[in-house]
Structure formats: C-alpha cells, structure tokens
Symmetry: C2
Subunit: 217 residues, 2 copies
DNA sequence: CGGTTAATTGAACGCATTCAACACGAGTGG
DNA sequence: CCACTCGTGTTGAATGCGTTCAATTAACCG
C-alpha cells in the first residue's frame, strides 16, 4: 500500500512535462522497495535520478556510525547530482518508489538540448539552496525552531488540511541534527501550544500558521 | 600590508592557467578593501567571481541577527555561483582582495567553451561537496571535532610548518555554529594536549597530525 | 607608553542528550 | 476477540556540553 505523495512541492513548481519527456527519452524507469538502496555512499556517480512516485532520502554515515540525513526527495525532484566523481551521500527509498534513471553520459550527449540543460542547472541550484538553508538551520537554530521549520516545509507541500509525514522520528532527527527524544518533545510541546495537532504520529495539521512561521524564522 | 595567502589549496588543484585566461578574457579585475561588501544578501546574482588574492567569506544574517558564515574562499577559488536568481549569502572581503568579476551573460555566451564549462561545473560540484561536509559537521560533530576539522582544513592549505588564520574567532565561531568562547576553549584544549600550538592567536602549527586527523573524523 | 579591540578564562545556567521506563499501534496466533 | 509481541513513539530524571554573562589578559596601533 504505497501512500501517494502528490507532486505539489513548491520547490518543484516548474513545467515538468518537458523534463519528464527528456528523462523518458533517455532513461529508464526502475522500482525500489521500502528501505532499499538506490545508490551507495562513495559509489561512482554515473547516473541522474528523478522521483516519479514515493519518497527518497539521502544519508551519510560517519566511520563511527553517526548518521546525517541530507534531504528528502519527492515526486518531480531530481537527485543524485550532488557531487563530482562519487556520491558523498547514499540514496535510499523511504517508501516504495518509482525512479527514472538516466546515465550522465546520455545527458551529456544531449548537451545543447536547452530544455534539459536548463532543468539540470535549475535542479543543481535548487539543491545548493536547500543545502544552504540546511547549514543555517543546523548552525544557528534551536531544536524548537528546527522542528518548526521542518513541519512548515512538509505542511507547505500538502495543499489541504492534513499533512503526512512519510518518514519516522529517527529520520527527522538525523535530518535536523537532533535525537529522536528531542524531536518528540518538541512535537508534543508545539502541540501543547496548539500550534500543530497530531491525530496520529505520522499525520498532523497546522493550527496556527503565523506562530509556526515565526518559529521557522 | 596585505598578507599573501598562497594558492596551494588542494580543493583548487587544477590547471588554473586556462581558467584564469577565460576569466581574464571575459571579466574585469576589481579591488575590495578589508570588510567591504562584494555582493549583498538577496542581491540579484548577475556575476561570477574568482579570488585572485586575499580571502573572501560568505555570510548570512537572519532577521533576528544570528549570523552564519557559509564558507571562506582563497586565491583560485570561484564563488558567487551559489544560487538561482538571487544570492542567499552575502560575500565580503575578509582581507584586502583582488577579485576577477565576470557577467553571467558573458559566460553563457561562451557556452561550448569546453574549458570554461568544465571549470564552472567543477566549481559548482566542489561547492556542493563543501556544503555537504558543512552539513555533516554542523549536524553531527561536537565542538571539539568542529574546531579540529577547521584547523585541519586550514593546515592542509599551507605547505610549510606554520599556518595562518586569516579570520578572527568570531568568523570561525559563525562558520562552525558555535560561540567565540567555545572556539577559544577548544583551541586552548587542543593546545594543552599538544595537538596544535599557537605562538600567536592567528598563527599555529600542527604537532600531532594523526591525533588531529582522528578528531576531524 | 596609553587606548582600543580581540582573545582568553571563570562560574552559573540551560538546552539538548542520555539512559531508562512506559505507552501505543499493527500484526499474529491462540 | 483478546493476549502477545515487536517496532515505534513518548515521557521522566539525571547528566553534560555548550552557552551566557562577566572579568581578565593579550595583541595591536597610535
């Protein structure tokens, strides 16, 4: 039962059809089941990837086992363009996923395809902006603010009342540079102040947008 | 008295002459004095930049005044390619600087210039890797480890015994997501363990490379 | 030298972590 | 339908790392 995560991400707000075409033309569709690896940390980077359905996360594990989640990718998002010769982060299917995969060489052969060039460049820039935001968050925000920011970004993606969290608390914690306990405490705190409401642990609703926005800073 | 920061950055280890040529051909050289602004936060991104001499830092200040340093750029480094329509970080001259500036449009007109394309792409990828490292550091490393990593990266740049810190403690702190006091404490701690030695506050020498490397993780 | 800024040190506090216990939900089998 | 289990999430109490605020020392520049 793969939950559908609709492609209403503001970050992906661009005419996706042309790009989809390019990917369809050059690449191939693959399926990944929950918690399976799409590519490994330190693996050679020979492909580009595009989420068709499901959610992907990138992670990096240090020698002594500490884990950092790079980002989460939703339908329409490009990923795997992060690095030079090899991937610094692994990519894993958070849910069951359909992924379009295309060889870098194939894309390079189509250099000059204005549409494709533009899409790749855009995606790279978006990726950098996300990373920059992430740096500011980890460097200068409190636990409370980090959790608030995170909920904001998820809530913005969903149009209607309720928003779903595709990831568990551990993934949130590893993305935010916190522990599961702290994440959990901040969530109950925000709920206690009626800023958000959790009918279940994976589903929530924003009650006070302005308050949340102020915290997300 | 502008201190010379030699161009021995391992991150910039590529045939710089050809790229220098391209920049010389298309751009113009500008001088910035210490602490002056090269471009502002949220300013339109119309240029690319290359450090000729001196050191540049990028910073972002949140609404309530918290500051995050993005990175430091040394001779040979390209910067200002961070984002889409506008810069998320400001760029400032840390020391007196000579900077090569080139309009993005000019570079775009030379698309197909394989040398230049490659250099721009490389720089973008390097930039992403730095950001990824930064995220891991801020998300998962202790104060001690952050400071050690930072000293490592500086020390690697200098070939001979002594290494110079072009930036003050506040800049280090804002880069590492710490306070000046914590940075200072960690430095004295590392010095107490004879891992590094500071003859003056802006100059140091690594005594135990393996120990420092182990900490930098 | 004095005057000024930058860096270090000290002591108390507080936020996030750690370690441990408990609650909840989904599946499974009696 | 309930009991049992396992994974996941929440809550509590104690600890500790980094911060905060304040005072001192060191470096820089006239």
């Amino acid at each position: 039962m793969t939950l559908a995560y609709p492609m209403s991400d503001p970050r992906t707000a661009r005419p996706a059809n042309a790009l989809t075409d390019a990917f369809d033309r050059l690449g191939m569709r693959m399926n990944f089941s929950r918690e399976s690896e799409i590519y490994a940390q330190d693996e050679d980077a020979e492909m580009f990837y595009r989420v068709v359905s499901g959610v992907v996360r990138t992670t990096r594990v240090t020698l002594d086992g500490r884990r950092q989640v790079g980002d989460f990718y939703y339908p329409g998002d490009l990923f795997g363009l992060e690095s030079g010769p090899e991937h610094r982060f692994a990519a894993e299917a958070l849910t069951d996923c359909e992924i379009m995969v295309v060889r870098r060489a194939a894309v390079r052969a189509f250099a000059g395809d204005a549409e494709l060039d533009r899409a790749m460049l855009d995606a790279t820039h978006q990726e950098m902006e996300r990373l920059q935001e992430h740096v500011v968050m980890l460097g200068r925000k409190s636990a409370r603010e980090r959790v608030a920011s995170f909920l904001m970004s998820i809530a913005q993606r969903q149009s209607d009342g309720h928003a779903d969290l595709p990831m568990g608390r551990q993934d949130m914690a590893d993305y935010l540079g916190l522990t599961i306990e702290t994440v959990s405490r901040m969530l109950t705190q925000l709920q206690g102040e009626s800023i958000v409401e959790f009918p279940s642990s994976r589903r929530f609703q924003v009650r006070k947008w302005t308050a949340l926005e102020a915290l997300a800073a």
